[in-house]
Symmetry: C2
Subunit: 349 residues, 2 copies
């Protein structure tokens, strides 16, 4: 498959025109596209501009509201509960993390929940915004059900990712962004297309038996990482994002790709804690740097060249992509150009 | 190995006399023993009265201060930083979680850090106190280094456990309490004594090679659960408990059993979030019950009789032990009776 490389501005300009043509305000469209481009720049191309076609499809089907009126339903000095009005998850979440940061700076810490929302991109984007402000940022979202509980065989839990970002000094910030499933469902699809087996422990078949057959796995369920521990974390993320915010949870959360007859109605949860509750930001960053350097410079396991901190691989990737530009594969370029044509936009990638 | 069963009061009375004889006030001693007995009643016998001999040893060696003057170093409406004055971790942590609960009830959420502390028992005890008050309770502690970073081979991270407890209604509260290592180091010791191999993935040898030889594993390092994900969580727990509180962290954290020449100087971190920031506690509990029942009543994997929620096994165990009493093995009974004799206490178990 071929690919082309773009400067971020080119992708941004193209993308924001698409969303505006779909009925979104320029402000909302710019917000979404800033997040998508930042995601591509972090090397997470699965969650960047490649997702525009499915977002556009859902808007056209009336499943995502292009002009959401975001409402704060409940608020105090340390918290807020936001109704995303079934808009793009990015829009409500940008607002939510901004409120969370502002309240945490004033009150020492804050938590903001979002309900009635849709896919919001990558967790890291929101946590990293908090870390840039000297806060410890935490982001949780539930997703459509893909995973069986530990000991079960029904798809009752999403891949429910969580991210914690922590400011460092000279070193890059720590950004732990992870799904609670062993792998993404996309990896089963890739193996099925290639006719390859999957490793034991990734998934079970519809009877709840461990399987190495990706087709049977697709009919069954993904497994949580680390057995009961990952299962517990997936439950926790669903509680914070879904149960506590008043969003759908468990098997009721809608799928971005799968459910083309109903809104997702998922939820998100953000927390920020001020470092300065405990010590000066300068001292903390110095301590963080010393921890990071101690780990990075320690002895490596056999066959390992370098020890990475959580998020460091993505950090190095983003430094490279800011220099080189964003590479998009030709299948995605064609989908985006077809979408532009379909919407009557003259721009092409 | 034989064992004997005791009513909780008998163990409590014996234990609090031991700590008082070691120089602790009745109040502090009662606090520690309440926590130890609650831990035994949860079926976590490794962290209950069985730990009294090592605590006593450290107090006698001057490594734990029996009469700590606990100080609040920094405080605002949502946070506090506490100096444990090198006392038993339980004493400062009981104070910390009480402050955290009080502040969270008033301000919506709170975080309390503890530095200059020692082993505090099980994380679940503290998180569960918050959950009983209608709060989401989170507890983190760092421990002495047992684990290599992902890709490394030096022991730079503790088993760094975390616990989140969430109130439910008719159903037992959710209590996810887990170490970030695959297994406890004790399991390597058991395998070594029995001359058995350990499963691949538990540990590496001193060269950073995967090993199934428990002796080589003891000379090497435990591995984080779930590869880079568990590694990331272990780093996170060390940051919250150690870096942020001003405690020792990474390889500098002292070992309860191993370092008999210096205090542990570890740290703990507690958070509490009020459910009522987002919805009424009654509605939330109802939603929690429906999530729990949906999972528990779902189809089981092959060979599985029952799906458990996080913490449910311990909950069922505690219901049983409250009826039946606490079983203590004879080796521990002998150690405790020897300690009593050594301290000139006439009581025996």
């Amino acid at each position: 498959m071929g690919e082309k490389t773009y400067i971020p501005d080119k992708l941004f300009e193209f993308s924001t025109k698409v969303f505006q043509k779909l009925g979104m305000t320029q402000e909302d469209s710019d917000t979404v596209c800033r997040i998508l481009i930042k995601t591509d720049l972090r090397g997470i191309s699965s969650h960047g501009v490649a997702r525009i076609p499915i977002y556009a499809k859902r808007i056209k089907l009336g499943l995502i509201n292009p002009t959401p009126q975001i409402k704060i339903l409940k608020e105090n000095d340390t918290s807020a509960l936001i109704d995303a009005d079934n808009g793009m998850g990015h829009i409500a979440s940008e607002k939510a993390i901004n409120i969370c940061i502002e309240k945490a700076k004033k009150s020492g810490m804050a938590a903001v929940g979002v309900r009635n929302s849709n896919h919001f991109g990558i967790n890291a984007y929101y946590s990293m915004k908090a870390a840039e402000e000297g806060l410890i940022g935490m982001t949780f979202t539930n997703t459509s059900p893909l995973m069986a509980p530990f000991g079960g065989r029904e798809r009752l839990l999403g891949s429910n990712p969580l991210c914690i970002a922590i400011p460092a000094g000279e070193e890059p910030d720590i950004v732990l962004d992870m799904a609670t499933s062993v792998v993404a469902r996309g990896k089963l699809e890739v193996a099925a297309r290639k006719g390859m087996n999957i490793p034991e422990g990734w998934a079970i078949d519809s009877e709840g038996r461990v399987t190495v057959d990706p087709q049977k796995a697709l009919e069954g369920a993904l497994l949580p990482f680390g057995g009961p521990k990952g299962y517990g974390l997936a439950v926790l993320v669903d509680i914070l994002s879904g149960v506590l915010t008043g969003a759908k949870f468990g098997p009721d959360a809608g799928s971005l790709f799968g459910d083309l007859d109903r809104p997702q109605e998922i939820g998100h949860f953000f927390m920020a804690v001020s470092v300065e509750n405990f010590m000066s930001l300068e001292t903390f960053k110095h301590r963080m740097d010393s921890m990071i350097q101690r780990i990075r410079n320690s002895k490596k396991a056999e066959g390992v060249d370098r020890i990475y901190m959580p998020g460091e691989i993505e950090y190095l990737k983003s430094k490279e992509l800011i220099e080189k530009g964003i590479t998009v594969n030709e299948k995605v370029i064609k989908e985006l150009n077809d979408l532009a044509e379909n919407l009557g936009i003259s721009d092409r990638l």
